[in-house]
Amino acid sequence: MTDQSVPTKPKALAVASGGGHWLQLLRLIPAFEDHDIVFVTVLESYRRQVSNKFYVVRDANRWNRFAVLTLAARMAWIVHHEKPDVVVSTGAAPGYFAVLFGHLFGARTIWVDSIANVDRLSLSGELAGKHADLWLTQWPHLAKAAGPHYAGAVL
């Protein structure tokens, strides 16, 4: 018999590409301590770094249309299957699609643009702005009244 009175934790889908994107995402995770976290990233070798449920997707850039479509379909499936309460990403393309589909499927969405984007927001960060409830840059000089906003950095 399941005990319906036990409140389940809200679920967060945390999404990042490899390298700096992934390490920046991990530095945000302490904000989600009362959430169940499901990770989506691009390298199988990151699995052992976290004890959570974990998906690997193939990254894509704007020059490869087939890879972009495949990634979009896979992220749509993951978001629909996991039904997260909140989606958070530090980029790049997988995070954009996670925020897009999260928004469409009713999750709250957070985009933290990579600190590597000093002169301008990333393309995925620009595109994600429309679908992110909390849209952040890590650079005060890139913040605008209509977003992205600045609220500190991962470092």
Partner: protein, 166 residues
């Protein structure tokens, strides 16, 4: 041990060649390099194409100095281990990156005193010599800034000031 890393974004032979030449001149230091799918074959240091994240973490822990492209992953890894890091930015002009954002990254972290910067390979040797004189510093926290963590928490708790964050 000195750890050299070019990260995941493709080779960075300009950096590897410069460290290799420095390594030959100094002849004293043990150098290990992660070079990606590089054309240049190092002559004076041990190297591999890629290492998995655990192995990489272990290498950073064992290193006395990290030398890297100005990638955020490399910089975070060194700072979290409290190791001095010399960075050289990838340049679009050499087809090492699509744009010059690593130059801006380098300037920012240099201004904060968190990295030693070599903007050209010609200045790398002196920066490496200097880096070897530095001690390990305290590890940085493994969390984002308190402001960023608390902003995300407020958002999750529906307490964010909606006047400020639409």
């Amino acid at each position: 041990m000195i750890l050299v890393t070019v990260g995941l974004q493709g080779p960075f032979d300009r950096l590897i060649r410069a460290v290799d030449e420095w390594s030959a001149l100094r002849n004293c230091a043990e150098v290990f390099a992660q070079i990606g799918k590089a054309k240049y074959v190092p002559q004076h240091m041990r190297f591999t194409d890629f290492v998995d994240p655990f192995e990489f973490k272990d290498l950073v822990e064992r290193a006395r100095l990290v030398v890297a492209h100005a990638g955020i992953g490399s910089i975070i890894s060194a700072l979290e281990a409290g190791k001095p890091i010399v960075v050289m930015p990838r340049r679009a002009g050499f087809r090492e990156q699509r744009n010059d954002h690593q130059v801006a990254t380098t300037k920012y972290f240099e201004a904060q005193g968190r990295v030693i910067a070599a903007y050209q390979e010609q200045s790398l040797a002196t920066r490496l010599d200097y880096g070897l004189t530095l001690e390990t510093s305290p590890r940085i926290s493994s969390k984002a800034s308190p402001q960023l963590i608390s902003t995300i928490r407020s958002f999750l708790d529906n307490e964010l000031n909606t006047m400020k964050f639409g």
